[in-house]
Symmetry: C2
Subunit: 191 residues, 2 copies
């Protein structure tokens, strides 16, 4: 057992209390774990009583996946606005309109500045497909309160977004059970 | 708004209810998000009332980072046993002994089979440095209940572990605020 007071963080992190520097964090790439890592940050941040708000693009409005169930119990707002867009979607105008509407809500929340962390889940697609101008996103991020963290997830993160971000991680798939063994997505793990 | 009953999952995932296939998941690589994505799975799984247990290697016993605070409130056991090992550690015998002891506890939990998900956080180092034989780990994973998910995080995942895993993701650092801007780890985000 360590002799250190369990309520004191290790010395190397204690000094960070002095100042919070809001980060723009991007989780991108083809692999798993982009949204999941954002949920992990929410878990940590909730443990520190941060004010958190998550906006989901693409996912069906009213989805009740594991994260929605957990968030509801913990009173963390997760707002999904989407129609479950896939490569097979037929009504792309509707998909696009929902994404644009959702970005409007995000922008308002970012500029209002009430939260410590705002997550824009699967938002990169809206920029990638040209539905939301990257310039508008970068401008809005630049106007946020200095203490606010913003996390953006999804494949195909545009270069302008990467340029303005503080922390960018690419999730790379090394091995995947769907492809190699035909195993379906597992409840509680991936949704 | 979607016309779909919000309590029904989309058709593409509803069928997965039929059977749970326990996965061995490895989050590795030099980038951020390995432990964080494991915490995200815990968040989801907690939302689905899964029985969860997390073992942390390396981290100081008694650490009270964001994840520990959240887990304590949610009654999710996170058991850390370590001395905060870094490249500068002086007492490597002690670091090693703690890792070996912690693996013993994990092995017991895996074989007892009481949990739906067991997370072995930063466990790869114990294998990488030869403190715990990979063969023993692979054998133990092979004996776990078929429905149990096991998540292992950390850099330098040994090839034998990757070979036996179902889902392996490499987190790659594209941009990092420490290195590029001298920003320290942020509370609620990284710990």
């Amino acid at each position: 057992m360590s002799g250190r007071d369990p309520h004191t963080p290790p010395a190397e992190v204690a000094t960070t209390r002095r100042k919070r520097h809001g980060l723009v964090i991007v989780n991108t790439g083809e692999g798993k774990g982009k949204t999941t890592a954002a949920l992990g940050v929410i878990f940590r941040a909730w443990g520190r009583d941060f004010r958190i708000r998550m906006f989901q693009f693409i996912k069906h409005t009213g989805a009740t996946f594991g994260e929605h169930r957990a968030a509801m119990r913990l009173d963390i707002p997760i707002e999904a606005l989407g129609d479950g867009f896939t490569w097979l979607s037929k009504d792309m105008d509707r998909t696009q309109a929902l994404a644009v509407e959702q970005w409007g809500r995000c922008k308002e929340a970012i500029l209002e500045g009430e939260e410590d962390i705002i997550v824009l889940d699967e938002f990169t697609y809206a920029m990638h497909y040209g539905w939301v101008p990257v310039d508008d996103v970068v401008d809005t991020l630049g106007q946020r309160p200095a203490r606010m963290h913003v996390i953006i997830t999804g494949r195909y993160a545009p270069q302008e977004l990467i340029d303005c971000a503080d922390l960018v991680t690419e999730m790379r798939m090394i091995k995947h059970p769907y492809r190699e063994q035909g195993i379906r997505a597992q409840q509680g793990i991936e949704f």
